[in-house]
Amino acid sequence: MRKKHLALIVLGIIFLVFPWIVHSHYYLHLIIIALMWVVIGSSWNLLAGYTGQVSFGHAMFFGTGAYTAGILASKLGMSPWWGMMFGGIVSMLIGLFVGWVCFRLRGPYFALATLAGGEIFRLIAVNWESLTEGMVGILIIQTFKSKLPYYYIALVLAVFCIYFIHLVMKSKWGYYFVSIREDQDAAESLGINTTLYKNVSLLISSFFTGMAGAFYMNYMAFIDPEVVYSLHYISIMAILVGIVGGVATIMGPAVGAFVMVGVQETFRSAFFGLAPQWISQGHALVFGLLVVFVIMFLANGIVGDWSKIKRNVFRMKASG
């Protein structure tokens, strides 16, 4: 236990001093994006990993958060930092509605309903031009020129999100969420209001995802529907972050976020310019292969199967 705490403290110090040691804007940008994915992945994991309600449509919360912040800033001139708060809240309201509709369905049917939901929101954002500017997108002026403030905001958001979910999972709610995942009928017969607690899980998840979306708006200063409501860049990526890192573990999505952002960037930049450019076209393929590999050999993800990984690495060292 003490070893674990020590590791967390060391990790915390590394993250705090990182921007003072590495001055490259490029790497700082990657870390900021990865921290944002920590938030989205952890939120997805709360709903899908712990509560067992697999969402294929987290882009609807991410995009709604981003658009809320963007519209408030561009149309009403509201500070984007208020936008972050409202982004979370509006996403939560969307979550309330989605829960009311989709939680009548179970298992794969729920997943399909969220998939459809994500696409519906994307199409609304494309077509409701008077509000969202449609495909033109929304452009705002960044608050800070330096990346440093964004880095620390993302860091605080990620740490707060992980810690909050950690607390929730240690409480009565945590027991309820996992019970619902394991057997909804049994949970109901044990006096657990399954409809209510599935919604609680969804609301927390949508709130944090919405905040991550609003952060993205503030940081990138430009959004359009094809980016923030994207099925494969957001919804599917959220699932990959969770699965690769480790479903139903606290630190899993955090690890998954860094791995996935790393893999994505390695391929997008064609191995940082070392490989021929056509390789960057293959990143979707590599994502697919990575998922197949993880499901076949590390069904519980990197964090969930950590002891297995360590064992195999040691065995390789011993025999080699």
Binding site: Y175, Y176, V178, S179, E182, D185, A186, S189, G191
Partner: protein, 241 residues
């Protein structure tokens, strides 16, 4: 006043009359047995009592009040616990976590819930297994876990659905002991069971159904000698002799 009363309960699945005009009352402190051949509607009656199936007609009264149409979790909070015939352990949770989750029905802090869970596990003789994952338990343990989980919700009435099915003889004796211990705690029991050794030795009163319809009710002896019951279980020629 009966603790639980079924009044002219009907349940149709399309054109199939799964439960057809069944009425009985379970008195406080009783062990009330519900028997019938395979497919006669026993589990369906359970599912109607805690509203996993909406009932098609009639009424279910608990402590004199209708519980028809209430959500299953509400019914649990009113004081009816249940176990499942096809056990539903929360597989990837430990035995202790399984019971703790249900203890939250009455208490609110983790500490209280865990204490409650420890007590119940001890009572059900599962303390040694508390840190194992529920999916690793053998069937005897899973059946006891079902009872433990139901007990942790502090029910006044517990519905036991074939708690003894699939157990070996020594486990069977333990199960009977456990059911008696539950009754001695002052909990009323409504039990569905196929194994006659269990149902005949512990029931204060037995209600027999076949094809969803009542065929007999009385003490164990009365029901065992009832011609309609013998016919339902063994065939016509045994009933005549």
């Amino acid at each position: 006043m009966a603790l639980l009363e079924l009044k002219n309960l009907h349940k149709f699945f399309g054109g199939l009359r799964a439960v057809n005009d069944v009425s009985f009352g379970v008195e406080r402190g009783q062990i009330f047995g519900l028997i019938g051949p395979n497919g006669s509607g026993k589990t369906t009656i359970f599912n109607c009592i805690n509203n996993f199936y909406p009932i098609s007609g009639g009424d279910v009264l608990f402590k004199g009040k209708s519980i028809k149409g209430l959500k299953p979790h509400k019914i649990c909070h009113l004081g009816i616990g249940r176990t499942f015939q096809v056990v539903k352990p929360l597989r990837r949770m430990t035995v202790l976590e399984n019971v703790t989750a249900s203890a939250f029905c009455r208490v609110h802090t983790i500490k209280e819930a865990q204490k409650e869970a420890h007590d119940v596990l001890k009572f059900c003789n599962l303390s040694g297994e508390k840190d194992k994952l529920a999916k690793s338990l053998p069937i005897g343990g899973r059946k006891r876990l079902e009872i433990a989980r139901a007990l942790a919700t502090r029910p006044e009435l517990i519905l036991l659905d074939e708690t003894a099915a699939g157990l070996n003889p020594s486990e069977l004796d333990e199960a009977i002991e456990l059911i008696k211990k539950v009754r001695d705690r002052g909990i009323t029991i409504l039990i569905v069971e196929h194994i006659m050794k269990v149902i005949m030795t512990i029931s204060d009163r037995i209600h027999a159904i076949n094809f969803g319809t009542t065929i007999a009710e009385g003490t164990a002896e009365e029901v065992a000698n009832n011609a309609a019951v013998i016919e339902a279980y063994l065939g016509e020629e045994y009933a005549q002799s």
